[in-house]
């Protein structure tokens, strides 16, 4: 899946001379946690997070202060340079960036210009789509030997019935690397015929899987 398929195209931005106060307001108004800072030609020159803005705000314990810190320009606290991605990058790469660099938002740029934004929330939404749990379905787990050609063999069994597959995931089988677990979500309330088919083809079906209980 490509970045451009999941990115948000309407991005709330600020110019470097806007005040910290404006940033604070925008964060609250739009329920967002990141604001890219752009110059006149729509290039991303920095980014601020809600944490940056909060760090720069007066303490809630100091009452009756003039709060003049808030009048400072946003460029005084923005992070730079900014990690960005391209619309044609893969969603998986964005997930790696989030994991490795430990932040939760990347602006998307094309020809140096800002065209979108992806946050951790968009990533999680995509993950839910990938697992297929957002549509009506039953889940079946099949333990298989880890060798080439096994997936088409298994899915062929599903194909025999008029049952639509809404997602397929392959997990490592932790106790023994010789095996994998194929998790299939199928759009039926009655998975029993399919399970019988799988079993009669010699597959081990874990449905549902719980330590101590034989399926």
């Amino acid at each position: 899946m490509l970045v451009e398929e999941i990115m948000k195209e309407r991005v709330i931005t600020l110019s470097p001379v806007d005040t910290i106060e404006t940033a604070l307001k925008l964060l609250q108004e739009h329920h967002i946690r990141h604001i890219p800072i752009i110059n006149d030609s729509n290039q991303v020159i920095g980014i601020v997070s809600d944490r940056d803005v909060r760090d720069a705000s007066p303490s809630v314990f100091e009452k009756d202060t003039e709060r003049k810190e808030l009048k400072n320009p946003i460029k005084s606290i923005m992070t730079t340079p900014v990690t960005t991605v391209h619309p044609l990058d893969f969603v998986e790469e964005v997930a790696s960036i989030f994991y490795e660099q430990e932040f939760a938002c990347v602006p998307v740029t094309r020809d140096e210009k800002l065209v979108g934004i992806i946050t951790e929330k968009d990533m999680l939404y995509t993950l839910i789509q990938l697992t297929g749990t957002h549509v009506q379905s039953s889940q079946i787990e099949v333990k298989v030997i880890n060798r080439p050609g096994i997936l088409p063999q298994v899915t062929q069994v599903f194909g025999k019935r008029k049952v639509n597959i809404s997602s397929v995931l392959i997990y490592p089988y932790k106790p023994d690397p010789k095996y994998k677990v194929i998790v299939v979500r199928i759009q039926t309330m009655n998975p029993i015929p399919t399970i019988e088919d799988l079993k009669s083809e010699g597959y081990e079906v874990l449905w549902p899987k719980m330590p101590g209980i034989l399926s």
């Binding site: 749990t133 549509v135 009506q136 379905s137 039953s138 889940q139 079946i140 019935r161 008029k162 049952v163 639509n164 979500r185 759009q187 039926t188 309330m189 009655n190 998975p191 029993i192 015929p193 449905w207 549902p208 719980m210 330590p211 101590g212 209980i213």
Partner: protein
């Protein structure tokens, strides 16, 4: 749970919706959804002497206008065409018709119309005061969507019935769904409606269809806080089921104060049911209607309509479970002891498995479940999460 002290004999004049034509709702010879269950239940009750012809209510056909309270016209038209063999496979898929779960069959529109009409007949009988309670075990098809058939359900009689109550009587409705599958169709139909509160207890959707019914599905906009879910663990047994169910139902009814209660009494949470992984016994099928009966009298002047639902061991489980609803509805005391011999003799001939001969399941009928303590603990935590908003409000009100 309920002690014998609560088993006070009552005498509630109730209605039993029935037509032989309920069995016309049949997808295919080997399909697990089989309305022969309704016939078996009725005959079981007749054999006990607890159901007579004068208590029967003939279901009417729901009109298209009534169906359109919860379904789009284009979907209704598609179902009609499918029932006459005029809908292509391609066209059907858009509406969830012609799948493994809900194949097309001759006359499917009329057969479904009758199930919905049965629920409307039950509702009118109760709300117009002809009977105290009413039972339509032909209904409870809670997976039907506005423009999509799914999970063996074409038209959603519960959703149509509740819309009908809202329109005709303007009552606040509490819908309680004890089917082992999440009551998704009804929940989504009233997700933003604060006058309809839905409560579904079901096996977690991790493995089981439809996969929804998470504890954080609480409603939307105006309806936020009026949708409750208890997705209990696979392998949950009687005590844990009843513990969380009773607590939740009591809290929810006290919070919502409905004018009428509709229960969906799917009988597929039993350990013998082939499609689910809950491990309850007949015990819950005595306690579930008892609690509904008690709370309907306490909060709604008795206005209670009970529907059927899932239930795929039609030989050993469903007739016993549903017969108990009727018995409790009328007398508040469940059947005990042996089933009528003549009923067993008649139906044993058709059954591929030996029928149960007693109303209760023998002790230790279900194989022991490891990790019972953990399952019980998880279900309790779930209960707290599900009722969080009610608890918050109580705390706020007491300040």
């Amino acid at each position: 749970m309920a002690k014998d002290a609560r088993d006070t004999i009552m005498n509630c004049h109730s209605g039993f919706v029935y037509s032989n034509d309920f069995t016309n709702y049949r997808f295919r010879e080997d399909h697990p959804f089989n309305q022969m269950r309704v016939v078996m239940t009725k005959e079981l009750l007749e054999a006990t002497g607890k159901l007579s012809d004068k208590e029967l209510i003939s279901p009417r056909l729901a009109t298209e206008e009534e169906l359109s309270l919860a379904h789009s016209i284009s979907y209704i038209n598609a179902v009609k065409k499918a029932g006459k063999g005029e809908l292509s496979e391609e066209q059907g898929l858009e509406y969830g018709i012609g799948t493994e779960d809900t194949p097309m069959f001759q006359g499917m529109h009329e057969a479904s119309q009758l199930l919905v009409g049965g629920t409307l007949s039950a509702i009118d009988s109760v709300l117009e005061g002809r009977v105290k309670h009413a039972l339509n075990i032909g209904g409870g098809l809670h997976h039907g969507f506005e423009r999509k058939a799914s999970g063996f359900c074409i038209y959603n009689d519960g959703a149509v019935g509740i819309k009908y109550i809202r329109k005709k009587y303007d009552y606040k409705v509490l819908y309680v769904d004890t089917d082992a599958h999440h009551g998704d169709g009804v929940q989504w139909a009233f997700y933003d409606d604060p006058n309809v509160c839905t409560f579904s207890i079901h096996e977690t959707g991790r493995y089981l269809f439809p996969g929804t019914g998470n504890v954080n599905e609480r409603g939307l906009k105006e309806g936020y806080g009026y949708s409750f879910n208890l997705p209990i663990d696979a392998f949950t047994e009687d005590d844990s089921f009843l513990e969380v169910y009773e607590s939740a139902f009591r809290e929810i009814v006290d919070f919502f104060r409905p004018d009428v209660i509709i229960t969906q009494n799917g009988a597929d949470a039993h350990f013998l049911d082939p499609l689910t992984h809950l491990c309850s016994t007949m015990k819950i099928y005595e306690e579930i209607p008892k609690l509904a009966h008690e709370l309907a009298h306490q909060y709604c002047d008795g206005k209670w309509i009970a529907l059927g639902g899932g239930g795929y061991d039609i030989w050993r489980v469903v007739p016993r479970a549903w017969a108990q609803i009727w018995k409790i509805m009328n007398e508040n005391i469940p059947f005990k002891g042996d089933l009528p011999v003549e009923w067993i003799q008649k139906w044993q001939k058709n059954s591929p498995v030996p029928l149960s001969t007693t109303w209760h399941d023998p002790a230790n009928a279900c194989k022991p479940i490891p990790r019972r303590a953990e399952i019980t603990e998880k279900n309790k935590k779930l209960l707290d999460k599900s009722l969080q908003l009610i608890y918050n409000q109580k705390k706020f009100n007491s300040l």
